[in-house]
Amino acid sequence: MSDELLRLEGLQVHFPIRGGLLDILLRRTKGVVRAVDGIDLAIRKGEILALVGESGSGKTTTGRVVVKLTRQTGGRVLFDGQDVSNLWGTGTLRPYRRRVQLIFQDPYETLNPKHTVGDFVEEPLEVHGIGTSGEDRRLRVIAALEAAGLRPGADYAARYPHELSGGQRQRVVIAGALVMDPEVIVADEPVSMLDVSIRTELLRLMLDLRRERGLTYLFITHDLSLAWVLADRIAVMYLGKIMEIGPAEGVIRSPRNPYTRALVSVSPSTDPPEPGQATKRVILVGETPDAAHIPAGCRFNPRCPVAFDRCRVEEPPLFDVGGGQQAACWFAEPGAPPMPDPARAAPAFVPPPMVETSVGAAGA
């Protein structure tokens, strides 16, 4: 597609496991953590793509590769039609970094407590040698702060982080990204540390900025409901692979991968449960295996309530299921039988049984 801005092709990030000093000296490895294990993604200009997954799914590593903080071990990163996979070193990276900015999760740790807000926002301008004079930079800083909703900008620029609330701090972090006038913002859990009421304001700010500046977002989150609220398209990751990708409406309302279905079913809701509603939820047993020991076949099969023989030996590719949606599941293969209802197929998540505790009722 012509308006495609960012493209990942077969992206792989494998981290070697080294046991100790001797292993490091001998360049010997004990195994490999396959954090990102071959993913393809394309983000269009002005689009918000949410990368959703639990801890250990590789979503953050993917984001770090895009902003060039982690080196891929395979595959390519294309930005605006150019291969940027092998750009390394500050000199060659600078033009790219101007256009692709990162927002971290924790606004409390991102800001230096001894620097004013203005210093923080101005620093990237100095590093990149942007602005003709101190005055010019100051005006850019104020404009960025105001764009992030901190008005009057001049007033906020003189403040220190401890004088700000959590929401205001995250706005400062956003201003620090905006001052570079980027095209893509990679936002890694930008609102997870914040109260629900403040989250909404920041999500609105992100939407407003897209409208005003045509920004493109890669929005990384573990919270499917945030992705639902914000994103145009959602990609669900599990153990380094994309399990399902497509328009938000399709992925949430008619998920074709059992993992996505389970995630949707346990997504938090403030509606008090009705009697019998609990049976509709698919609570998976166990936790995500570690990425050094990825199961054979479909990597989700040991926890999948509807897995069958083929899933244990053969990994399904992403099948087109229509409407721009793709799912990696043998039940999504053209001509496959419909997927059994995971909520029924799943052995209901039974918490461990009561055990008789043995401490006698001696006097207190």
Binding site: E54, S197, T200, R281, V355, E356, S358, V359
Partner: protein
């Protein structure tokens, strides 16, 4: 309309299955926990002190789960910590009472509190990695309170630690593991096992699932629910996540700037919120099962508690603000459906619903009359036994 009892559990039965007798001073007929008019101040290095909690009352019955919700700084964690008097050094309870089985804990000394901490009220903290000792095996950490608080021999404590791990779904062999060897979800389970070590009457969870993945969170919530049912536990869950409360609690108390905004049964309040703040909080919650991009925003920030605004503390951010709101503190008004609201939109004696056309009006019809919550009445109207309060 008849009101279902929030918990149809027999308090006598719950107390009958206790492994340990009630504290010596306990009144066996008193409600489990009644907090009345609690006030807590924090001394600051300079300037006026902070009124973190200002006149909070609530009640918790046997086997009941109460959720306390609100934004950061609303006083929910401070309220919870005051139940076992674990406030930071600069914090002090300046008024009110915390009565457990009718025993007021506020005047108790540190030594006297030892009888109640962990044995009657235990706590599950937010960051399991910070709350567990990294250089001690988890089995030993769980056995410690059994040995120290209950004076059990080492062998029996060890055995109980193993039993407790199995109870929360960790194989007992893992008792030999150190905290870093467990995953986040497992650590949180170990924390829960530790909180259960002395068979307490009340477990207080401070954001017990906040740092966990959704799937692990769902597992932990199911576990808590089952423990509550099987062990007859009472839970107090402190969280900013309303969905956790919707899933696990009978009652919810929404706090704002150190005061109670609204309190009542979850099934009523989450379906038909009365206080504008509750309504806002609910509509700001991203819900995958609802339409997209309909989230509402609560403009502004909570007030600075060194100099709280006069009148209703939510008034500066409230869409329905009236002249009276900025001058007078709204009284707490109790409605027939068990909901208690502090809002001038619902003055004492007001019918249960707003005028038509108000955005707060919801389809559900409200009971017609309301009851003023006097200072003499007990803190909440759970209709579960042994409620024999003088309400209405």
């Amino acid at each position: 309309m008849t009101i279902e009892p929030v918990v149809s559990r027999d308090a006598a039965a719950v107390r009958g299955r206790r492994q340990w007798p009630l504290p010596r001073l306990a009144d066996p007929n008193a409600p489990l926990l009644v907090v009345e008019d609690l006030a807590i101040r924090f001394r600051m290095p300079s300037g006026p002190s902070v009124k973190a909690v200002d006149g909070v009352s609530f009640r918790l019955d046997d086997g009941e789960a109460l959720g306390i919700a609100g934004e950061s700084g609303c006083g929910k964690t401070t309220t919870a910590l005051s139940l076992i008097k674990l406030l930071p050094a600069n914090g002090r309870i300046t008024g009110g009472s915390v009565s457990l089985f009718g025993i007021d804990l506020v005047p108790k000394t540190e030594r006297q509190m030892a009888r109640y901490r962990w044995r009657e009220i235990s706590m599950v903290f937010q960051g399991a990695m910070n709350a567990l000792n990294p250089v001690k095996r988890i089995g030993d950490q769980i056995a410690e309170p059994v040995e120290v608080r209950l004076g059990q021999p080492r062998e029996a404590s060890r055995k109980r630690a193993g039993d407790l791990l199995e109870l929360v779904g960790i194989p007992r062999q893992r008792a030999a593991a150190y905290p870093h060897e467990l995953s986040g979800g497992m650590r949180q389970r170990a924390m829960i096992a530790m909180a259960l070590a002395c068979d307490p009457a009340i477990v207080v969870g401070d954001e017990p699932t906040t740092a966990l993945d959704v799937m692990v969170q769902a597992q932990i919530l199911v576990l808590l629910e089952r423990l509550r049912r099987d062990l007859g536990l009472s839970l107090v869950l402190i969280t900013h996540d309303l969905s956790v409360i919707a899933e696990t609690c009978d009652k919810v108390m929404v706090m704002y700037a150190g005061r109670v905004a609204e309190e009542g049964p979850v099934r009523r309040m989450f379906v038909a919120p009365r206080h504008p703040y509750t309504a806002k909080l609910l509509s700001a919650f991203p819900n995958i099962h609802a339409d997209r991009r309909t989230l509402s925003v609560i403009p502004g920030q909570p007030p600075d508690l060194r100099t709280p605004p006069p009148g209703c503390r939510f008034a500066p951010r409230c869409e329905h603000v009236m002249a009276v709101c900025t001058q007078e503190v709204p009284p707490e008004v109790r409605f027939d459906d068990g909901v208690r609201v502090a809002c001038h939109l619902f003055p004492p004696g007001s019918p249960g619903s707003l005028a038509a056309g108000s955005p707060l009006v919801v389809a559900t019809a409200m009971p017609a009359s309301s009851v003023m919550l006097g200072s003499a009445s007990w803190a909440s109207t759970s209709s579960g036994p042994p409620a024999s309060g003088p309400a209405s």
